[in-house]
């Protein structure tokens, strides 16, 4: 029975339902219990994101606070995954991957291949990404392209509360390491979420709006921005199909290519910086595999090749908005050979 939940509540419910179902699921991260060991403070926070709130008392011993030692506890989550647990570790801001990246990309991502198929590492690393909260350069990046680049990792970028719950449950049940990207500006977004447990498959994009003139491929928070742009474009007679990737690894190439075959025009909208990004990756896919169908140059709307600025005047300019998407789609829609 769907009710309206926030993105945050949907994630919390996914964790609670999986912890209820499977005793091998544990949760760890900074402040995840909310000050374990400090009388009166237990569960005060439930993580700085509030996603793990209430789990500490429901699942004694299975919600662990950690020191601010990302290498140690992300590595511990990975090690525990090789030993039969299904840890969900919270890397508070994805920007902090800089202090623990080795454990993710040299250890977790490579165990299965490097050990000849004999390791299983079912770890989920939940992490917050994205600009828009005036959090500046070290707390605002959209670093999913970095993880998408690495064979052995799966990368999930949910856009809605419904997707957040279904994809997180799928991530926890998945037997490969999953990096789960939560946009910090989406935690209070509400939407219908079924009470019962459900999963959404990885590698299956969601066509969130059908259209015939231009395909917009996007993900995460930019899905909402792209939908707003599509509304505006519809008013001026341009019909946009909006494809939400949901996961960047695996990538649903078929849905992208099928849509591009139908519309012949593609704009990719990505909050990440432009070089070696999802935007360039999708563009290369379409250029190499759907060249015959393309009737216009591919458009890309991304952040600029800069760190995320602090001042609102600059940050608002940094983040792609609906107007920039409209401005990018129009010439693609109007292009004639």
């Amino acid at each position: 029975m769907p009710r309206n939940l926030t993105y945050r509540e949907a994630l919390n419910e996914a964790l609670a339902q999986e912890m209820e179902r499977d005793p091998s699921v544990i949760v760890m991260g900074e402040d995840n219990a909310g000050g374990e060991g400090a009388p009166g403070e237990d569960d005060a926070w439930g993580g700085v994101l509030g996603v793990t709130k209430g789990l500490y008392h429901k699942f004694p011993g299975r919600v662990l606070d950690t020191p601010i030692s990302e290498s140690a506890f992300i590595g511990a989550a990975i090690g525990a995954a090789t030993a039969g647990l299904r840890p969900v570790a919270e890397l508070m801001f994805v920007d902090f991957m800089g202090v623990c990246f080795d454990q993710i990309f040299n250890q977790a991502a490579k165990f299965r291949y490097m050990f000849g198929g004999k390791a299983v590492t079912p770890v989920v690393i939940r992490t917050m990404y994205g600009a828009g909260l005036r959090a500046a350069a070290q707390h605002s990046q959209a670093l999913y392209p970095v993880f998408t680049h690495i064979p052995g990792l799966k990368v999930v970028v949910p856009a809605t509360p419904y997707d957040a719950k279904g994809l997180l449950i799928a991530a926890i049940r998945d037997n490969d390491p999953v990096i789960f990207f939560e946009h910090k500006a989406l935690y209070d977004l509400t939407g219908p979420v079924p009470e019962e447990s459900y999963t959404l498959p990885f590698g299956e994009a969601n066509v969130v709006r059908e259209g015939s003139d231009v395909t917009i491929v996007t993900l995460g928070r930019m899905v909402h921005t792209s939908l707003a742009a599509a509304d505006e474009l519809a008013a001026s007679g341009v019909s946009c199909e909006v494809v939400d990737l949901r996961t960047t690894s695996p990538l649903d190439e078929d849905t992208i290519l099928e849509s591009v075959e139908n519309t012949g025009r593609l704009v990719v909208v990505d909050e990440a910086t432009p070089r070696c990004s999802i935007a360039t990756d999708i563009s290369a896919l379409a250029a190499s595999r759907a060249f015959g169908a393309l009737r216009a140059p591919i458009g890309m709307v991304t952040a600029p090749h800069t760190p995320v600025p602090f001042s609102a005047a600059l940050e608002d300019q940094y983040i792609p908005d609906a107007q920039r998407i409209v401005n990018a789609v129009k010439p693609v829609a109007e292009w004639r050979r």
């Binding site: 020191p67 590595g75 030993a83 490097m114 000849g116 052995g152 695996p250």
Partner: protein, 323 residues
């Protein structure tokens, strides 16, 4: 000390150390022929550490190793034939030829891998120790790392975490004197790596790493404490490696110490002298082990050389469980 161990345990200890020595001496020789690809880091000289620690472990326990990992693998029971085939890049190798010397692993034996990243192992064994603790298996986890690894933040963070979570974890710093070519007397700011234990709320023990019995006793105490819920221990082995950092290293950074160690300090020589002097094993017992090990290693090399290489299609397999 020898009399606290059973005859079988003593034979196991000697067989483990002799197997490691023979394995490494042979890889050294074969590497020089050019038939072994890649980077190889040999453990000869350090055998008492792996053997002395792992004799205290069983199938519940997990270890994480280093780039110098052959000795830890052998001591934890990884198949020697599979290891040799792996080093030769063969499909019959422990990792089907996809890992090589620096990544030999056998999770079914509690061997979480040699590791190409210095300091890669300590965070991981915090996880396996946590799993053992939460599941109540009684298992302990051991991270081996070198004097180089002792300076990595991952190692220091992990020691703190292991104490904070009161994990059944043991940190074994194998101080062989050099991180690559840089002396640990220069790179380690404290007199001893073990001196750092107090900073992380755990006991620190310094052991003569050439002395099997000293290693075994220190590890026995640490393992017992960990199994009983008493938390982690840091053990520092002091010794010398007999070969270079990697095969091909000309070792211009050190002079006479290897010859001295081989002649005066060697763990196998000392072990043999002690057990034969106190009568717990005979020279014939040891000779029988030597003979069996020589055959084992010969066979491992011959089979590795004859084994098939991975098929082209293997390039793409086992990246994911499912994708």
């Amino acid at each position: 000390m020898a009399d606290t161990l059973t005859r079988d345990q003593l034979l196991t200890a000697y067989r483990t150390m002799r197997t490691i020595r023979e394995f490494e001496e042979r890889v050294h020789k074969e590497f020089a022929t050019g038939e072994i690809p890649g980077f190889v880091h040999l453990y000869a000289g350090e055998e008492a550490s792996a053997a002395g620690v792992c004799l205290n472990l069983d199938e519940r326990d997990t270890i994480a190793s280093t780039h110098r990992g052959h000795g830890h693998c052998i001591a934890k029971g990884v198949d020697v034939g599979g290891m040799m085939a792996e080093i030769y890049g063969r499909t019959t190798g422990s990792c089907h030829g996809k890992g090589g010397s620096m990544h030999i692993a056998d999770l079914s034996k509690g061997m979480l891998g040699a590791n190409g990243i210095v300091g890669g192992g300590p965070p991981l064994i915090c996880g396996t120790a946590l799993a053992a603790k939460l599941k109540g298996t009684g298992g302990v986890s051991v991270a081996f790392f070198g004097d180089g690894g002792s300076n990595q933040g991952t190692t220091l963070e992990s020691m703190n975490l292991a104490s904070v979570w009161n994990l059944p974890a043991i940190f074994v710093a194998e101080n062989n004197g050099y991180a690559e070519s840089t002396a640990s007397t220069w790179s380690v700011a404290t007199d001893n790596i073990a001196d750092r234990a107090g900073a992380f709320g755990m006991p620190g023990v310094i052991v003569d790493g050439f002395d099997f019995f000293a290693v075994h006793e220190a590890a026995r105490e640490a393992v017992a404490r960990a199994r009983e819920g008493g938390g982690p221990t840091l053990i520092e082995m002091k010794f010398t490696r007999y070969f270079g950092h990697f095969e091909g290293d000309q070792q211009t950074y050190r002079a006479q110490e290897v010859a001295h160690a081989r002649a005066e300090l060697d763990c196998l020589t000392r072990f043999a002298a002690q057990v034969t002097a106190d009568g717990s094993l005979s020279a014939a017992d040891l000779a029988a082990v030597d003979g069996a090990v020589a055959i084992l290693i010969d066979k491992a090399v011959a089979e590795a050389k004859a084994a098939p290489l991975p098929a082209p299609a293997d390039l793409l397999t086992d990246v994911y469980v499912r994708y």
